[in-house]
Symmetry: C2
Subunit: 143 residues, 2 copies
């Protein structure tokens, strides 16, 4: 993962490097995404951005997340049919999904290897290979 410090000047530079004008709202959203918690949903990001003082609308959060995805700053994680999660880590990696809690953890791609994938139909090219390990507590009620 690209090493990123989470202060305004470096986030501003990060956006500029991806051809994105660094507005106040976009910086707030970037700060939430690249700050501590990974794998947040749009709703969670909206809430965090407006925690101290309301300053960003729902429309802008969605606009910005889609823009960041298009420009390759972040990527979507599709594991929960109810909502999309956004991942500031765009390096190839995979996910461990706790189906009970909804928590998502990274699986580094380094150690992992997949063999035996079929050839794609002619004219098709791989956009990505997503591996999701779904896990739950071994005994539903007890420990």
């Amino acid at each position: 993962m690209e090493a990123i410090s989470y202060n305004r000047p470096s986030l501003t530079a990060l956006l500029r490097r991806h051809g994105i004008a660094p507005t106040h709202q976009r910086l707030e959203i970037a700060q939430v995404l690249f700050g501590r918690c990974h794998h947040l949903s749009a709703d969670q990001i909206l809430a965090r951005v407006n925690e101290q003082h309301a300053e960003t609308s729902k429309a802008t959060v969605y606009n910005t997340l889609n823009l960041f995805c298009d420009r390759g700053l972040i990527r979507e994680v599709i594991v929960d049919p109810k909502r999309v999660f956004y991942d500031p880590n765009t390096d190839p990696h995979h996910h461990l999904y706790n189906v009970d809690t909804g928590e998502i953890t990274d699986i580094h791609a380094g150690a992992l290897s997949v063999s035996g994938l079929p050839e794609l139909p002619p004219g098709m090219v791989t956009e990505g290979v997503d591996i999701i390990v779904r896990m739950r507590a071994s005994s539903p009620s007890v420990g």
Copy 2:
């Protein structure tokens, strides 16, 4: 995949084997699921079931799909953030997803192997490993 013939008596038996009372609506839905096309969304199933003559409601389609999933008759495929697809094949296998067309194709698990998956946290157990290969036409506009 369990070998299933798609006539009423065998579908009835299939439901009974899974502890599901075989009502008219459930049999219609099972017929659509286990008939030709795999990987259908709830909406597509609703449309097919009511193709000849309207006889099943949206609520029943959702109720039934959830019931079939709970009882292990079918499974969900989470690849498209907009809708869930339902898979009558519950054997371990993976999916090739055409991001342009939305088409989903099976990848048989036989040939495929994954190594280097991390250990799960204590007390956790794997519910499944989903591999999704996302592909698109190699050149966006031309062939």
